[in-house]
């Protein structure tokens, strides 16, 4: 079991993606199928950008076993008032600054869901959000 931890700074777009980039390198070293790596790191990157865009700070915990990868992203932030709405394509509460970076079109959470096998969202308004994502390594043919 490989365990990794990264800290995410809210608002700092210069560092957004550092965790995803690092996880991508580790997965390559572990010889995971390239198509699976892309799905995993796209989901992680979207989630990382969400923390940078919306929260004050966050932590990413990564667990890689021979069968799967678990990614847990916990943030301190505004939380998501309506998860069903946030899961709809096109729904966004992102700021102008976030939109200027090429994000905030309301495609993040739906795209995360598309790329992972399991997604769980726990959120409390005014406290923060936890995203738990799992991708199994045995579905490279999907």
């Amino acid at each position: 079991m490989v365990r990794l931890r990264y800290e995410i700074e809210g608002g700092n777009f210069n560092r957004a993606g550092n965790a995803s980039s690092n996880v991508k390198k580790v997965l390559k070293q572990l010889n995971i199928d390239q198509r699976l790596i892309k799905k995993i790191v796209v989901a992680l990157y979207e989630a990382e950008v969400n923390i940078v865009a919306h929260a004050y700070e966050g932590v990413v915990d990564v667990e890689i076993s021979p069968s799967q990868i678990n990614l847990i992203l916990r943030d301190k932030g505004p939380g998501i008032p309506n998860v069903d709405e946030a899961m709809k394509e096109g729904f966004s509460t992102a700021s102008q600054k976030v939109r200027e970076m090429g994000f905030g079109a309301g495609m993040g959470l739906p795209n995360i869901k598309k790329n992972v096998d399991l997604l769980e969202i726990e959120t409390t308004v005014g406290v923060g959000t936890t995203l738990k994502m799992t991708k199994f390594f045995n579905d490279a043919t999907e």
């Binding site: 995803s20 980039s21 990157y45 090429g102 598309k114």
Partner: protein, 113 residues
């Protein structure tokens, strides 16, 4: 399509990476990185007017090896460093997105959708 032909057709400058390389099959044009991250295609050229570090990060995550910055947008030093580290070829042109896409499509570069 070879990168060398793309550079010639668009009067572009290579600012990171090597001119020789694999055949580029498809092109996609967007300033919206969220949109780029939904693509399942790789081996493609991203045509964009969005010149910031997240453009290169997005390309890195999405396995996009070729990025064209239009309208004289310049890659920053951080973008160049990240592109070099991630093996992403970066080119710049004075032409608009519309003009680049028209020329490349006309010359046979396939669309993603």
């Amino acid at each position: 399509m070879k990168l060398s032909l793309i550079v010639e057709l668009l009067d572009a400058r290579l600012v990171s990476g090597k001119i020789e390389g694999e055949e580029i099959e498809r092109g996609f044009c967007s300033d919206l990185m969220s949109d780029v991250l939904t693509l399942e295609t790789d081996r493609m050229l991203l045509v964009t007017g969005m010149a910031n570090l997240q453009t290169i990060r997005t390309a890195e995550m999405a396995d996009i090896h070729y990025v064209l910055l239009v309208r004289n947008k310049k890659a920053s030093k951080e973008m160049l460093n990240l592109a070099a580290e991630s093996g992403i070829v970066l080119i710049e042109t004075a032409m608009s997105s519309f003009r680049c896409c028209g020329i490349l499509y006309g010359a046979g570069l396939k669309p993603v959708y």
